[in-house]
Amino acid sequence: MKVVVDMNKCQDHGQCVFAAPDVFRMDDDGRLAHVPDPDDALRDEVEEAADVCPLQAIRIED
């Protein structure tokens, strides 16, 4: 699974971190960092993260 975050849209709400903590995290400056190619077992979490992103900045590419 390939996860793409549009960093021009991202406003660091961090909702994705709650939904999928294995894939998304906030760095020390409060900016989002993520694993671009997480294991497929994490698909449900990542879909949840994409759903709850207020800016809809997360895209899942198979």
Partner: protein, 403 residues
Amino acid sequence: MSGRIVVAGASLGGLRAAEQLRAAGWTCGITVIGDEPHRPYNRPPLSKEVLAGKASFASLAFTPKPSAADVEWRLGTRVTTVRLAERTVELHDGAVLSYDGLVVATGMRPRRLRCPGPVEGRHTVRTIDDAQVLRDELTRPGVRVVVIGAGFIGCEVAATAVGLGAAEVTVVDPLPLPMVGPLGEMLARVLLTRHEERGVAFVLGQGVTAFEGDDRVTGVVLSDGSVLPADVVVESVGSVANTEWLDGNGLDLSDGVLTDQHLRVGGRPDVVAVGDVARFPNARYDGVPRRVEHWSVPTDSAKHAAKVLVGGEAGLAPFAPLPTFWSDQHDFRLQSFGAPALGLGDVRVLDGDIAGDVLVGYHRDGRLVGVVALGGPSVTRAAARFRAELLKQPALISQGALS
């Protein structure tokens, strides 16, 4: 069930319902019906980025999941009548559809002030079309703006108008402080100051009795008889549930549509409600049914309601979402977890300083029920820690907090 599920409402709740029906195993037809001509789009930017000219409509459109690719969209029409006993809906265009399951996702519309005076020049912000028309007005040189209602939308619009360079921006509200209902006095005072420092004027403790002007509004008459000159008026005075189409079925429609703890409507297995039109008891709190106008609710409720509609409630815990909301105003952000409004009587600073970035906690019977962060990453991170604590707490109901 086999056949068709009708989803009435084609905004975020309708889209998520369609997607979650597929996720719950529904393989037959899904028809989503919405009165706007547009596919579902994201509304929070309407009072901010869209108004400010920083976001296009294309950037707001939701991308439906691949599983929902075969959903039938009927846009630019709406359900006018439903007969629950017969399982049929009638649309504004005259079509009659039968269904096996029905999702109520018709949401809210802005409440309008019923005051004498001209209508032209008065705006609301609910749809993309509203926002685009208002933007044209706010960008006229020297424009004087009066925002009626100091809630979230009103404060966001006022902040955006100042950012666009409006000559005067005044917010009017009968309450003594902005956003005091959801946030309580402590934070409301801070927000008032921060708005004033950034150029927003407030007239508080005053209602609106009339609008001045002939063809178009030129002023807003306040309850003390004084008049605020206005070229543009924005009404942000709450919302009304779109439930008229459900009339005649014996449902409780006194404020949205009443549901049970599994979001079912009228005790029926074949009708559920999602989003801000649903008045549901939250098992996490006191069990009192409430509508919740937060962006997270359509997604959370659609997930639960779709499972119930497709597979029944067996094995499902009652719907108990952790509420969350945010609001971006000027250069600051409010971020909330839990239910601050249930703990307005006991408000404490948990982190930071009221003069800068601050995290505030709301308590009921000594127990933390909600937090609001105002400011940057340091308090947002602190809020996230408290979110985890809020999630772990047992339901208030089971602790007898109703007494």
